[in-house]
Every structure is written in C-alpha cells, then in structure tokens.
Amino acid sequence: MEDNKPTFDKILNDLTHHIRINKGFLLWMGFLSVSLLICLYAYSLQLKTGLGVAGIRDYITWGIYLSNFVFFVASSLIGMLISAVLGLIGMKWITPLTRIAETIAVAFAAVAGLVIVSDMGRPERLAYVFIYGRAQSPIFWDVTVITTYFVLSLLLLFLPMIADMAIIHRKSTSLPGWLKPVYKTLSLNFTDSPEQNKIINRCIRILLILVIPAALSIHTVTSWLFAVTSRAGWDSTLFGPYFVSGAFVAGSAAVIIAMFFFRKNYKLQDYLTDLHFSNMGKVLVTVSLVYLYFNINEFLVPGYKLKRADAVHLHELLAGKDALLFWLVQTGGLLIPIILMMFKPFRKPLPIMLISVAVLIAAWIKRYLIVIPTQEHPFLPIQHVPQNFMHYSPTLIETLISIAPFILVLIIITLISKFFPVIPLHETAKEKGIEHIKFD
C-alpha cells in the first residue's frame, strides 16, 4: 500500500461513499426503532406500576439495571485507552481506530446516564441530584465524572472531524445534499490554515491528557458504589483498578467487533487491515492479562483467610449456585481468549471478532456476578419474607428495559458512523503522503 501511493480522490471516495441513506440502513434503523419502542413500552409499565415490575426486592435491591450500568460505563473507557494512552505514546497504527473508539466512548457514556435513570424508584426527581446534591455521596461523584468524561469524549470525537467535514463538503460529489449545510456549519469555516491546525492540535492534545484522569475516575468511582460498603465481595480496596482493567477488556472487545462490521459493511478493507486486527488482539491480550492478575488478587486473598461472610460469598461463587456462570466467565471470557489470541491465526479479523463477542458477553455476565451474589448473603439472615425476596431472577419487563440501552448504543453508533467518515480522512490523507489538500 505504501508503494503505490493512493490518490486523494480515491481516499475521499473510499472513506465517504457509505455516507448516504440506503435500503440496508433504513431496514436496520427500522428494526432498531421497533425494538426500542417495545422496550420503551416495558419502561412505561415500570413508570406506572413502580420498580416492583422488576425482580429486585428488599435484599437483592440492585439487579441487572445496575450491572448493566457498570457494563456501559466500562465499555466507554476504551476511548481513553486508544486515543489518549496509545496515541500519546506515539503509536501510529491507531489513526484509523481513534474515531471508532471515540464513537463507542460517546455512545456508551451517554447511554450509561440513561441506564441509571431506569434504576431509580423516582425518576422524575432526577434533578434533585443537582438541587440537593451532597458532595460526600459517591453517586454525586459518579454523575459529575461521567458528565465530564462524556463532554471530553464528545469533543475528542468532534475536533478531529472538523477538518474532515470541511474537506468533504467542498470536495465530495457523493455527499447527500441535506448533509452539506450540516457539514458546513459543523466545520466552523476550517480552511486548513497552519494557524487553525495549530489551535485544533493543541486542543486535542490538552483533551487527550485531560481524558485520562476523567476516564480513570468514571470507572473507579463506579467501583466505589460497591467498595464503600462493608459487604462481603464488595468490601475491597482493589475494586478501582480491578474495574478499570476489566473495562479495558470489554472496551477493546467492543472496538474489535465494531471494526469488523465497519470494515465489512463500509468496505474499508484497505484502511482497517489485518495488521490493525492483529494489533488490537495484542492490546486485548495485554489488558486481559492485567485483568487476570487483578482477578487472582480479588479471589485468592479473601479465599485464603475465609472470614465468615467472605467464606459464604466465595463458596456460592466458586462452588455453589453461581459457580457455573463464574467459571464460564473466567475460562471462556478470560483464560481461553488469552491463550488463543497469543497465536497469530486467531488474530485474523473473523476469529478475533468471534473471540471478542465471547469476551464482551462474559464481561456483561461478570458485572452481574459482581453486583448480585453479594446481596444474596447479607451479614444478617434473610427471613420471614417471600421466596422471591431471597433469590433474584430478572423479570421479562426488566429484561426488555435492560435491552433498550443496547439498542440505543447501536442507534447512536449507526448514526455517527453512517453520516460521518468512520476513518479520519484528513489525518489518513496526510499519513498516506498527501501533503496539501487544496481548499478553494
């Protein structure tokens, strides 16, 4: 590819030809919208009847709404890892992945905020968090840092796109007419002048540095929702890094899956190459190994001491009621993927996508195993209550409401990727040796 230099027009066409409304897009969006409506109907039932339509009760009071929230916050962290960490240490191969990673970050962070509203007994009082907000509550910290991270990620998605939109609305012949004024407005009169580039690059650099503590904060604070309590299984000083490393695993898997489908559907084989998949595989192995290390710490240390409450919790998790799920997640979502991805053939696009799907499903179940089993054995016994207070199982309505955020994320990712270039055009052109793009 480096040998025969592609022309600018080819790059422009390759990266923007998918920006149009076609039948496939309409069908896909139609399917998503109808599914979302069904889920919203389920939510309307919850609004009318109360949180009791879900399977959660007085002892297991946080169910899949909350494990879902943790999962969404986790998946959004990847934007920071790819753009900021890998970008700032000078990895060049990440250029075509940065926008995918930021899109995932924006979509998951935005929806995480909505997921938590579905878990509120009084969603109409959401504003009270700001009106009566108390600085000592981790929920207040969580709201603050997630909002911050969302804004930073949105800016990191938007700023590098300014140049792209300026080029496309001037040069592209295939851009739909109705998108032209949108692009023109959003490109903020960018003309590729050295001064403008200097400002944008400086802003991006500052944002890349700021987004690192913000991203670390969102998942560390989310872990503290659990770690600040005394309950067995949550009472851990390791929870912050344990959650953050797990988040990178989930997010890397999400990026690989997105890469696979963008490459296939938008015909980006020349830009998302086997090398990118292989490298992302290496990233996934690395973060999985770090996560494995934290898992060993998290289970071995309390397991060695077996304090009374810890013993009950660990027994249920490792050999009791939740053992099947637990070992499925630890082997199928962590050990086996690590071993497989160490071999090059498994880092080809299709195998690594399939491995990533397994990793992502395991990541969701892992959050379930972090949130729910701990509540099933509190310090004092659960007695004189109905059976469904003692064991949690999600209801149909609750499941539908929990599917809604996934549909929303898919809608956001689809819209962003469909109407904007998935691969950064301006940067790619420069990296491919096209020094100057003429602005008329």
Binding site: L51, T61, R125, S137, L380, H384
Partner: protein, 323 residues
Amino acid sequence: MEYNNNSHLPDGAENQKAASRRNFLKNLGLAGVGVATGAAALYSGGIFEAKKEVSGDSKVLLTQDGKLVRVDSLEIKAHEKSGEELSESLCRGGIPGRRWVMVTDLSKCRNARRCIAACQEAHQLRPEQYHLNTLQIQDTPATAPYHIPKNCQHCDNPPCVAVCPVDATYKRPDGIVLIENDRCIGCRFCMAACPYSARIFNWLEPRDAAKYQDKEYNAELNVPQKLGTVSKCLFSADRLREGELPYCVSACPNGVYYFGDENEDSVTNGTTRETVRLSKLLRDNGGYQLMPELGTKPRVYYLPPKNRLFPFENINPETPEKV
C-alpha cells in the same frame, strides 16, 4: 422520665365515634351550661389575677432543651400539645436535649412478633415489609439458637446517610436516622450500604394507598408510605414527640424492650413500665452492639440470650406467597 403506655391505636371507625361524642358534648355545652361556665370562668379568672400579685414559692424545672429554670409554682400550667403541623426544620431538628437509645433483652424474646404487628400497623406496611423483624440466629453450631428483634440501629456513624446523594436520609441531633420520602429518589444506595439490612423499599403501590392518599405526609411516621422510596424504623419519632414509648416497645408482651434517653441515663421497659439506669442495665447484663467492628456505632444495645425465659421454637422463617 414518665411515659404513657398507650399501645392502642384508634382506627378510623373509633375516631369517628369519638368525634361524634365530642360534637354532642360540645352542642350540649353550648346550649345548656354555656352561660354558667362563662360566669364561673370570669370569677375564677378574677381570683387568679388577685393571687398572682402575692407570689408564692418557686420550683426548679427542666425545660425541653435541657436547661434548668426556676418558675413560680403558680405560673406552672399543664402542657398542652400544640396542634401546629410538623415542619421540615422541626422534624430535622429532632427533639431537643434527647439522645434516644434502645435496649433489647434477647433472654426475654420468645418471638411473639406482637412488636412487628404494631409496627406494621402504625407505618402502614405490607406483611412482607419490616421496619422490625425477629430473626432466628445461631452464632456457632455449639451455641444455642435465639430470636433477635432487628430494626434500624440508628447508628451514630450511619453508612446509609453518608451515601445518600440528595440528603433524603439524615441523622438528627436526638440520634434518630430519618428519611424524607418527598425527597428520596429511590436509588437504594442506602439499602446497599446498610450492613444490618434494616431498610425496605416500596417496590409497588404501598398498602392501602388509595385510603391514605389525602392524608398529610408525616416524616416522623413515614406515613403515608410512598411508592418508589425507601422506608425503615424511625424509633417511632412521632410517639417520642408526644412523650410516649415506640409502638413496638409498648406492644411487647414479654418485657424485651427498654427505651429511653442516654442523656438521662434511664430507660423504661415497655411491658413492666419499670424505669432503670441505662449504664447499670448494660453493665450488669453484658450489653453489646451488633457488629460494632464495622464502626457504625449503633444506638441499639442487646442483652445476651442468657438464661432464656422461653424455650426456642423453630418456626419456618419463610413466607411462601410471592409479592
């Protein structure tokens, strides 16, 4: 300190009956003896005015906020309960000068669960909702099982209050942890944080919601219960404001509960109405707290299940029906 031991709660019908009786007496009074009483009042008023000038001896009294004051004995009048409504600041301020404390004697509990019934009635709770629950506990295989009434421990370092994002649950100066259901957003972080599992949630429409929908909300009673918000034991703050013992304490037939004021170092048994020194009771009987190692500093003390007065009856600790 003296308490009225009034465990009986008048229900709606009796309230109505009492009201019509009062109306009858009022009418009778107006029609029949109105003039006579008026004259008598004027006369006695005249005497009082005259006597006030020749001031008699004085007495030293304790005011509500714990100050000693000297009052002329003729100035002393019976306290009338004010009809003013419970404002938010009054509620959050607690009852001045008090530090409420509860002592539960496990050697006397035979799991009569009358305390639970009184509590659920007062706070309009469904049968599976407990502000107070008696649990069957056996600490080790070799030690004897016992029943332990478990309510909110009204911790002095309450984990629930720390995590509340909107200041809906708060600690009062008199030691009580309360919830303002008009502010609670239903995030249930407090429930997750409580190591005693003392908090419950109104997952569905509360019991008799239609019946109580027009009733004014009382934060010291958590009544009416509100959908989508948290509820829990309040040490019957409404009864304490009236100078009476909590509902559960008065309802116990077996003398399990003592309740009182740490500042006065005295607690009163709800069954025998015997008032004893708190410090002596705890010292002589090996009083302890639940999970003190967590640093929550509970305001509920337990006396060990030693020399139990009743045999332990194992009852099925599950209620089968699904809610």
